[in-house]
Symmetry: C2
Subunit: 166 residues, 2 copies
Amino acid sequence: MIPIISVVGKSGVGKTTFLEKLIAELKRRGYRVATVKHDVHGFEVDQPGKDSWRLAQAGSDSVVIASPRKLALIKRLDREMGLSEIAAFVTDVDIILTEGYKRGDAPKIEVSRREGGGELLCIPDELVALVSDQPFDLDVPQFGLDDMAGIVDLLEGRFLSEPRSR
Amino acid sequence: MIPIISVVGKSGVGKTTFLEKLIAELKRRGYRVATVKHDVHGFEVDQPGKDSWRLAQAGSDSVVIASPRKLALIKRLDREMGLSEIAAFVTDVDIILTEGYKRGDAPKIEVSRREGGGELLCIPDELVALVSDQPFDLDVPQFGLDDMAGIVDLLEGRFLSEPRSR
């Protein structure tokens, strides 16, 4: 089982920026990383007129584009998938990070900022760590917004095995 | 095991157009279809600046974008995957069609046109069917470029079970 950690926080708090830094630190230590972004609005990765778009328009339930360096899968869904179902599509990594999925049951890191107020989305029991520019009177490990070394040390202690690529 | 059929033919012969029509006929009969497009040049499905692009740039080996209606997986590869490895990412379909993979070992449909000359890419033993605007003196089932009913009848007889969605 690949460990799954969800990065959650209020809209605009900087989840993607935090994830970029977290991924970079994990990669620096040799881990292979997958990221799952929760998109509630719908998204378009394919471009009108391209062959893959034409195949999807013609009715393909799944379209895969495979090159020597990259594979892309675009799959139509009848219903939203849970994190464990999504994780089944991810192979060859040491950790799966998610952006969003605050209602999922993966352990969570909440990103919070003073300017967003003092309320958190999560209850302490859900949290592996709290990342903020202000202290909280909670029994949860807390880190500054740039303390990637501290956060990855914690993840190594609790969730990670030896990197696959070492 | 989901049956895999490769649609092959010389460049410019109309493989994508043929696949669009074939997919439409399969869907009309209630089958669920996946398509795999072989891209030898490399491709970009993600767009600079988008969150998913930022997560890939930061080093994610796989990025998944999941919405209620669609899932996209973009996976970095160290080496090209074979068709059977790619097929492992495809679920919930009755048939996998590929565009390209002429050197793969899936049974093949070759699309050929008079204006492209009389040579074929495949030997008869590899071919399930030959689709062309000219006859070939070969012991292979032959169909016109628009005879999707005939081709799907053949696929139903040889490869397909009852549609999943019926």
